[in-house]
């Protein structure tokens, strides 16, 4: 009796919580997404009419932001991977006794609010910052080019903010690699690059998968970087959802967009995880 009951007793509070505050809201979101404005009602009053066309309308209207969200998230993920992989490798294999210190340094910027840091980037890259004048005097950018309010700034900001989420899982899986396997590969006539491609990378795949997911998912739904570092031309889906909720009070469209974003991410994640061949994520 006890043996059968224990796991369920342990699960009930947490799972109940998820049921009420995660599944129920998602269900409610799906419900809201097909509502239409109430006839003669005030702004923000809606009734259920099961209008699936809400989705078509919402997606069509915001196709640019949709595309931008996934494009920016993709570029962000690739950049973060390119920066974080060598970093994680360096910590794991060259860190020596400073390994723990370096790990702490990766996480430490978290404690300065990410908003403060993002705004710091805005000011560093802005007209009053020191980067723009230097680049201009070196004639790398023209007098009229700005760094902020650009896709570049948004992607850079996201790459920056999600870098620790990429680095930590990568580190965890690279650190588990027995350095002797790398020596063995060298011993068996593989050069540095082949060793990386045939031994290091495959062994660190779980970290790559976890890191890219932990970067891509929040990046695709982000709107803070676009709001601070971008311009109206760099608006992402998150910005639209946010403004539909708070400014326009168009709940059905916001819900339809949220639901579509979630579904799109889940589909992409499923395909990606299947391809990468790592089922054990959690």
């Amino acid at each position: 009796m006890r043996k059968i009951g224990t796991p369920y007793l342990l699960l009930i509070p947490g799972m109940g919580f998820l049921l009420i505050f995660f599944l129920l809201p998602i269900f409610n979101l799906a419900q809201t997404s097909t509502q239409t404005p109430k006839d003669g009602g005030d702004t923000g009053q809606y009734e259920q009419t099961f209008r699936l066309a809400n989705y078509a309308d919402a997606i069509f209207e915001n196709r640019e932001q949709f595309g931008r969200s996934f494009l920016y998230a993709l570029i962000t993920t690739i950049l973060a991977l390119a920066i974080a992989y060598p970093l994680a490798y360096a910590i794991a294999f060259k860190g020596g006794r400073f390994k723990n210190v370096m790990l702490v340094l990766v996480i430490a910027p978290f404690f300065v609010s990410f908003l403060l840091r993002t705004i710091a980037w805005k000011q560093i890259l802005g007209e009053e910052g020191f980067v723009v004048p230097v680049l201009r005097s070196l004639q790398i950018i023209s007098e009229s080019t700005t760094l902020t309010s650009s896709p570049f700034a948004v992607v850079m900001g996201m790459t920056y903010n999600f870098l620790p989420f990429m680095t930590l899982p990568l580190y965890a899986s690279i650190d588990r690699i027995d350095p002797r396997t790398l020596e063995a590969s060298g011993d068996l006539y593989a050069n540095g690059f082949t060793t990386f491609r045939k031994v290091t990378l495959p062994l660190s795949m779980p970290g790559v998968v976890a890191g890219t997911l932990l970067t891509f998912i929040p990046a695709a739904g982000d709107y803070v970087n676009a709001a601070i570092l971008g311009s109206p031309q760099t608006k992402m889906l998150g910005n639209v959802i946010e403004s539909r909720y708070f400014r326009i009070v168009d709940y059905p469209t916001a819900a339809a967009l949220s639901f579509t974003l979630m579904a799109a991410i889940l589909i992409l994640v499923t395909i990606y995880v299947r391809k990468a061949g790592t089922e054990e994520l959690v």
Partner: protein, 264 residues
């Protein structure tokens, strides 16, 4: 020339790491430097050095209320998510039961859902039940997104536990409850502590979900975001820098104590 290029070749990865760390720390340094800016309102342009902001961190209106709220919410969210998440981690990590894979999926889903969707859907639910956004809705929202991270962290620690240690305890006359209390729990404790730390930092730094569910209540990230338009007071930089220094000190002290205990 040749020796220089060889030095670069050998230390390429270290140079790379140094550059990456510089990238990570540029805005931190900027925030820190500008916490000393002698500028009354907008902290955009360097006006001169002062300690005034550090001497009076609550000088800017609302900033300390916001900080207080963030700490309270972070503490409660950490407490609840750590308890709930640890229980789930033990259920998954130590027991075989029906529905284990769907449980795993349900844990993973909140992590695979963008924060904006989590925040927006939760807000919709609160509106349906006519619950006003505010302190407790925010705590609930934070527990929601922290819990999955707690489960994953604690589960990893449980998985790395040698089952022979628990068997040894049973062999040495400890019954199931004593085995859990004397062996399993102490060995999993570092994982639980790490999970709690992670939960607190996620909660403390969260903006998106908070923005949806906090209503008129302000938190530190919200304060920063809202005041960004008219210029952030230097006190915000003081608080950010202080949190950074505090966290770093705690971690380094923890390391130091841990190492000392190992040696003696």
């Amino acid at each position: 020339m040749k020796t220089i290029s060889r030095w670069f070749g050998r230390n390429l990865i270290r140079i790379y790491a140094a550059i990456a760390f510089t990238y990570l720390f540029i805005p931190v340094a900027y925030t820190f430097v500008f916490s000393f800016n002698d500028s009354a309102k907008s902290n955009l342009i360097w006006k001169g050095f002062t300690f005034a902001n550090w001497q009076n961190p609550c000088g800017a209106p609302e900033v300390c209320t916001a900080l207080g709220n963030s700490i309270k919410i972070g503490f409660l969210a950490t407490l609840f998510s750590t308890i709930l998440g640890t229980m789930i981690a033990f259920a998954i990590g130590r027991h075989k039961f029906k529905g284990r894979s769907s449980t795993n999926l349900l844990i993973f889903l909140p992590m695979a859902t963008p924060e904006i969707v989590l925040g927006a859907s939760l807000l919709s639910l609160f509106l349906v039940f006519q619950i006003n956004p505010g302190f407790w809705p925010t705590v609930i929202a934070h527990v929601l997104f922290c819990m999955s991270f707690v489960v994953v962290t604690v589960k990893a620690r449980i998985a790395s536990l040698d089952p022979r240690l628990e068997q040894a305890a049973m062999d040495l006359y400890a019954n199931e409850r004593e085995t859990f209390r004397r062996v399993t729990l102490p060995l999993v404790a570092p994982g639980i502590a790490a999970a709690a730390l992670l939960a607190f930092s996620l909660s403390f730094d969260d903006f998106i979900i908070t923005n949806f569910n906090s209503g008129t209540m302000t938190t530190f990230p919200k304060f920063v975001y809202v005041s960004a338009a008219r210029g952030i007071p230097a006190q915000a930089n003081v608080i950010g820098s202080a949190m950074f220094i505090l966290a770093l000190t705690i971690v380094i002290l923890g390391q130091f104590v841990g190492r000392k205990r190992k040696v003696s």
